[in-house]
């Protein structure tokens, strides 16, 4: 099974672990991530203006490349997933955007939103299946209390993202269970960490991530998992009070599959 893979700028730099652990885990579970040639940064946030085309073109190029390869387009980063999936929706349903983007790109064959955009976690849930994941686990994470941090970008807007129930998601909790650990539900798991405001106004970002962490700490998590490098940064670097580790979900997966050692995590399983 093969997917056209869009890694995104951060997974080539500060978040290499999210990328490398995702690739080796995929191979172990029977699917392959084929990196799209010459992909360009998605821009990190979906352009909410209806009259902007240029900021959507990188996503359209990636989508057209996946179409040409005959694959679904897969991402690991929540932000890439959000941007590319929303742009794909525009290409499918907004005639004006589709027309202008194609006019600009002059592809051999116009792109009209035909590719499926999937997140790695959805492949685990919908294609591989939690039972297969469970059976592949070599180092069960029993005894660990793990909080899933969804943030915003995987879930919203749910009408487009179609990832999970936006107010009561279960996919990451099911993932944690499949690896043998105990998922911990806390109230702010789908609220914002402060996002890019960390550059514009650090104090606000600190308040936002502080609230999320407090809510998780109150429920007694050992650590959190995320699919987003910016969430990981905000929750670890901007945390003012008590620290809670935040790991990429692929690191946890690679560890449980016996592919990668995870420092600082000991199970009593």
């Amino acid at each position: 099974m093969e997917y056209s893979y869009f890694p995104g700028c951060t997974l080539k730099n500060k978040a290499q672990e999210l990328d490398t652990c995702g690739r080796i885990s995929a191979e172990a579970l029977g699917f392959h991530l084929e990196e799209i040639p010459e992909w360009q940064c998605c821009g990190g946030t979906y352009p909410l203006a209806e009259d902007e085309i240029a900021t959507k073109l990188a996503s359209v190029r990636a989508l057209a490349a996946a179409r040409d390869a005959g694959h679904d387009l897969l991402t690991l980063c929540s932000a890439c997933f959000n941007v590319i999936k929303q742009v794909n929706e525009d290409m499918k349903h907004d005639k004006d955007i589709c027309f202008r983007a194609n006019n600009y790109l002059k592809l051999d064959e116009p792109y009209t939103g035909t590719v499926q955009v999937v997140h790695f976690l959805q492949v685990l849930r919908d294609t591989i299946g939690w039972d297969t994941v469970r059976q592949a686990v070599k180092e069960p994470l029993s005894g660990l209390k793990i909080g899933a941090y969804y943030g915003c970008l995987l879930l919203r807007p749910s009408k487009v993202m179609q990832f999970d129930d936006p107010e009561d998601p279960t996919i990451m909790e099911d993932f944690i269970k499949a690896l043998g650990a105990e998922p911990i539900i806390y109230s702010l798991r789908n609220e914002c960490c402060g996002a890019y405001l960390t550059l514009e106004n650090k104090e606000i970002a600190q308040r936002r991530s502080g609230k999320v962490l407090e809510s998780a700490q109150d429920m007694g998590v050992d650590f959190l998992i995320t699919a987003c490098p910016l969430c990981q940064y905000n929750l670890t670097q901007n945390a003012l009070s008590k620290q809670t580790p935040v790991y990429y979900f692929t690191l946890l997966l690679a560890h449980a599959l016996g592919l990668k050692e995870m420092k600082g995590v000991s199970t009593n399983g």
Binding site: C41, G43, S158, Y196
Partner: protein, 129 residues
Amino acid sequence: MDDPKKMKAQIEDISHVDVRKCMRCGKCSATCPNYDDMEYHPHQFVCMVEKGEIRKLMDSNSIYTCLSCFACIERCPRQVEPAKLIEATRLMVERERGANHLKPDMIVQKLDDQLPQQALASAFRKYTK
């Protein structure tokens, strides 16, 4: 001189938001994680655009504090999508020559070892044109 009617049309053109759909329930503001740090809140963007009070919004810091978290977009019962108005208002400012909020020479002092590229890409997309 500002022409409020023209400015309102421009905002509607950029955002495709129909402010008349709003039923003033306040859910968007109630759910906004940055409520406390905004001078004007999401529901006020909707009312003030409707009234043509766009210059006030353009002059306010609220256009830079929206997190694009999609909470107000998700939870508005009338699909008004207030964050699109905030984006459109900010673009009205940034599309004016020289009005970028984030300039490349401001970046160096903001960098740290851990900062993900994604933060820079996103901030540039939001704060410059």
